[in-house]
């Protein structure tokens, strides 16, 4: 009798760990190809300047230097970089985004030339000697400043530096505001961040003039999207570009875009006939890899005097940077605007987002991508409302949650939340921290002059990107279906080919668990292959917390197709009817005749021999599914943050952080918790210490880890991750995403906590990061 296979829901140890733990990960920078030459980019120190002259004479004299190339030299080989999300009804302007600057540089860090040499060190030596003459132009770094009349224009195609104006309205917002007893108004700055994945980006391009095939190893979250975009940028046939993204050391959205330098490296490989390798320095990464967030938001919330929220108005001004990166326009609009109702039954909302060009690094997706910007403002406004009404912020939330029996729930802004039980997660979180007791302690502490704060964050977010008809209607240049092939080999082992490309999220294990559960084949016998355009079906990659619900959904469906095909074959072999077969733990058996059975491994062998197949059934036991989800998925939860503030210094210490999240069905609870831990800390990083800072000349001051502060183990608090489970009704495994929920929830939990601690000082709002000095000034009224 086969061993019972219980794989779904089990904290199975990760299969990918062995290679990482023994130093055998295959990151792009680890690879060497024979004959490789090395590329280094010359980048503008000016944020805005005319490019007058480039003189490479001294650089070319360095031994080992093969060439120095500019936009002129590569003309015809490398085109402009396209934007892949042109949101409709927004009068969007898509000025050209050149791979190497032609006449003008528009941000500090934009590449003007590339040096290629035999060694990395000589390329760097030569890079220093490339002489570039710039004619500086006036600079605008801040989006509101860039909109002012008289501001320098970055692009002729975008008058007033406006990239787009995007509106979204739901319900009758004017009526809601008329009805209101109280209106709360606030301005928030959701500051610019630098994603800072630990692995800097890298690319190795090699061209085979025999097969005319270009092979690119690149740090990507989505190899097929890279392939598609490169075929456009390079003018090369799509099927001749082979993109391999092996192990990737974190992405968080910053490895979604196709970057100009990746295309340049490809063009150089074709031209030079040798593999060209480029590895980003960290200081290069800080200016040349996309940034995140950077919203200024003006928000009005309308409510009744007993705390019922009636409507919300949001005017956001999003800094897009100097050019529109791959997914950039959709982040502060589509992934932001629809969520301004949060977890609440709000009847009306109005959102206006203006995207603005400035002389800064392009901004694109960063963990949460639009949803942290939305949920932050919602949850902060709820706390401000509670304060205005002198109500407990917990009560205001509870009062406004969409009730559990109302799902699927069509929200005012135009989407339908799939499932939810906000109250259950909320109650669990508050019970875990003993909320009542904390409030009592706070009352006591305040009498003694001790500053203690409790911050709540009840979120719901949109992920599992996504239903293709909806996604394409928002201007995204691609469907967001999931793709997989589940192949049972003749010997009964399995390979799962997926269009996902995990980079830390554990799908080599979790997808094996899904298949193990469906087919009764042990997890150890199932391998997951991803990240190679030659091996996997066309795939849309890993971001937007889509991998588990959408790609995992596809895997489950493929596995079920395999099971169904196996049943047909087994029935035929056992001379029984399909309906008379049980399938348990990997074995098909005839009901009532337990000895009449075939294991799925035997069926796989039979399907390979194919000499005794039922009519109409093709050989080989495998199936492919392109799964287009019916809807997005909407994970939710409540986080509680408890802080103590030192009034003398403004330093904040997190006493406790509890997260209760609901991502529906959990494939592997251990991995789910890990995603929450990491997500929470990135949101806390934004709240506590991270900020991309430019000076007024457009120079990025936070260009290394000395100045761009990401938390170490000593700044990170303990994080307790618990969950509730409310499956998604439309998903094949009932799963939602959880990769970004932590980040979406935690910034506001922290800020709400600190503002709560500072309540005695009458300060309504402080913008992130809440540095000790900011807190100190609020306390001492400076």
């Amino acid at each position: 009798m086969a061993q019972a296979v219980k794989a779904m829901g089990e904290p199975i140890l990760r299969k990918e760990d062995d290679r990482f733990l023994t130093g055998r990960g295959r990151y792009v920078a680890d690879l060497t190809l024979p004959g490789t030459v090395f590329a280094k980019f010359v980048r503008s120190p000016y944020a805005h300047a005319r490019l007058v002259r480039i003189d490479a004479k001294r650089a070319l004299a360095i031994p080992g230097v093969i060439g120095v190339f500019t936009a002129m030299d590569l003309k015809g080989d490398v085109g402009n970089v396209p934007t892949a999300w042109t949101i409709p009804n927004a009068d969007i302007k898509t000025p050209p985004y050149p791979a190497l600057a032609k006449d003008v540089v528009r941000y500090a860090g934009e590449a003007v030339a590339v040096v290629v040499a035999e060694t990395s060190a000589s390329a760097e030596d030569a890079k220093e000697l490339v002489e570039v003459q710039y004619d500086p132009l006036p600079v605008r770094v801040n989006q509101e400043a860039a909109l002012e009349p008289g501001a320098p224009q970055l692009h002729a195609e975008a008058p007033g530096n406006v990239a787009f104006r995007w509106p979204l309205a739901g319900g009758d917002v004017e009526a809601a505001f008329k009805e209101a007893d109280v209106i709360v108004t606030e301005r928030f700055v959701n500051q610019r961040l630098q994603p800072s994945a630990m692995e800097p980006r890298a690319a190795i391009a090699a061209y085979d003039p025999g097969t005319k095939e270009l092979t690119l190893h690149v740090t990507s979250q989505n190899p097929h999207i890279h392939r598609l975009l490169l075929s456009i940028i390079l003018g090369m046939p799509e099927q001749r570009i082979h993109v391999i993204s092996p192990d990737v050391g974190g992405g968080f959205g910053s490895k979604i875009p196709c970057y100009p330098w990746e295309a340049v490296v490809c063009a150089l490989a074709v031209r030079l006939g040798r593999p060209v390798k480029w590895v980003e320095d960290r200081s290069e990464n800080m200016v040349a890899t996309t940034h995140g967030r950077d919203h200024v938001q003006y928000v009005e919330l309308a409510a009744t005097k007993d705390g019922r929220i009636l409507g919300i108005k949001v005017k956001a001004i999003a800094n897009m940077g100097a050019y529109l990166s791959t997914a950039a326009p959709g982040i502060p609009t589509i992934l932001f605007g629809f969520m301004v109702g949060g977890a609440y039954a709000i009847k009306a909302g109005h959102v206006e987002v203006t995207g603005v060009f400035t002389n800064t690094t392009p901004v694109d997706a960063y963990r949460g991508a639009g949803r942290p910007e939305a949920l932050y403002l919602v949850e902060r406004m709820v706390d401000l409302l509670a304060r205005k009404l002198e109500m407990d912020p917990a009560e205001v939330r509870r009062k406004n949650f969409i009730p559990p029996d109302k799902f699927p729930y069509p929200i005012a802004m135009g989407l339908t939340y799939d499932s939810g039980n906000y109250g259950a997660a909320f109650d669990k979180a508050l019970s875990l921290v003993d909320y009542k007791k904390l409030r009592q302690e706070q009352t006591h502490a305040r009498k003694e002059g001790r500053l203690m704060g409790i911050g709540l964050s009840s979120y719901v977010e949109i992920c599992g990107l996504g239903p293709s008809s909806v996604v394409v209607s928002t201007g995204f240049a691609g469907g967001l279906w999931g793709s997989s092939t589940v192949r049972v080999h003749p010997t009964g082992k399995v390979t799962v080919y997926t269009g996902a490309h995990p980079h830390g999220q554990g799908e080599e294990t979790t997808f094996a668990q899904v298949v193990a559960q469906e087919l009764g084949i042990p997890v150890e016998d199932i391998d997951v292959v991803h990240g190679d355009t030659k091996s996997t079906p066309m795939g849309m990659g890993t971001y937007g917390s889509r991998t588990t619900p959408v790609e995992g959904g596809s895997v489950a469906l493929s596995a079920r197709k395999v099971r169904d095909k196996g049943r047909k074959i087994a029935a035929h072999l056992l001379e029984a009817r399909e309906e008379d077969l049980d399938f348990r733990d990997g074995t098909f058996s005839v009901k009532g005749s337990p000895d009449a059975k075939k294991t799925i491994q035997e069926v796989a062998w039979a399907a390979y021999l194919a000499d005794k197949m039922p009519a109409g059934v093709e050989p080989i036991l495998e199936a492919t599914t392109f799964y287009d989800p019916a809807n997005f998925v909407f994970p939710f939860g409540t986080h509680v943050c408890v802080v103590d503030v030192d009034p003398e210094t403004g330093q904040v210490s997190v006493r406790r952080y509890v997260a209760v999240d609901d991502c529906g069905t959990q494939i592997n609870p251990m991995i789910v918790e890990g995603q929450v831990h990491g997500g929470v800390l990135q949101g806390l990083g934004q709240a506590m210490m991270e900020a991309a800072v430019y000076d007024e000349t457009g120079n990025l001051l936070t260009s290394n880890f000395l100045e761009y502060l990401i938390p170490s183990s000593l700044e990170a608090p303990r994080i307790e991750a618990k969950s509730t489970v409310t499956p998604s009704p439309h998903n094949p495994i009932g799963a939602k995403g959880v990769g970004e929920t932590g980040t979406i929830a935690s910034s506001e939990a922290y800020v709400n906590a600190v503002m709560d601690a500072l309540a005695p000082f009458g300060v309504a709002n402080l913008d992130m990061p809440l540095t000790p000095e900011k807190v100190w000034r609020a306390i001492h009224r400076k």
Partner: protein, 170 residues
């Protein structure tokens, strides 16, 4: 000029060094400016040690030098002449994971894996010096290693578990 390093400097300025790496003696000629991390990765093809930053903050390049954790990006290979270096590749013996590696696996102490070799080696030194570290001591011991994926929660858990395993708790 070269009385102290007679015979070790070649005409092209390269310097002959002898380093014991993961128990094996290795002799090579290196440019003085070659960082230890680049020597390990490029010359010896031990790519398990990673480069994550330029300013000695991230710790992804951590190796053990004569038993002490050091950032191999912040020393030159020539400084390691005569020393013993342990990289992540040197931990597992005969195909079996070292207890510390096992503990990280059992406690989901890694996600993307990029910071992992550095963290594991920093934790190795901590556990050699402190058999039963407190949570604070663990957090201090790995404070030179940045991780963007795990939030450190399970890394701390893994190190604590490793401490128990290595002190005979299992």
């Amino acid at each position: 000029m070269t009385s102290h390093m007679r015979g070790r400097i070649a005409a092209d300025g390269q310097i002959r060094i002898a380093v014991t790496v993961n128990g094996s003696k290795v002799e090579r000629s290196v440019e003085p400016r070659t960082l230890l991390v680049d020597f390990l990765r490029d010359e010896l093809r031990l790519t398990g040690t990673h480069v994550g930053c330029d300013t000695s903050h991230c710790g992804a390049c951590t190796v053990l030098l004569d038993g002490r954790s050091v950032k191999s990006c912040t020393m030159f290979a020539v400084q390691a002449d005569g020393a013993s270096v342990t990289t992540i590749e040197g931990l597992a013996q005969h195909g079996r994971l070292h207890p510390i590696q096992q503990a990280f696996k059992e406690n989901h102490g890694l996600q993307c894996g990029f910071c992992t070799p550095g963290v594991v080696l920093a934790a190795m030194e901590l556990l050699q010096l402190t058999k039963a570290p407190t949570e604070d001591e663990i957090r201090t011991g790995i404070s030179g290693n940045l991780c963007r994926c795990t939030g450190y929660v399970n890394i701390v858990k893994s190190v604590a578990a490793a401490a128990e395993m290595m002190s005979g708790g299992r």
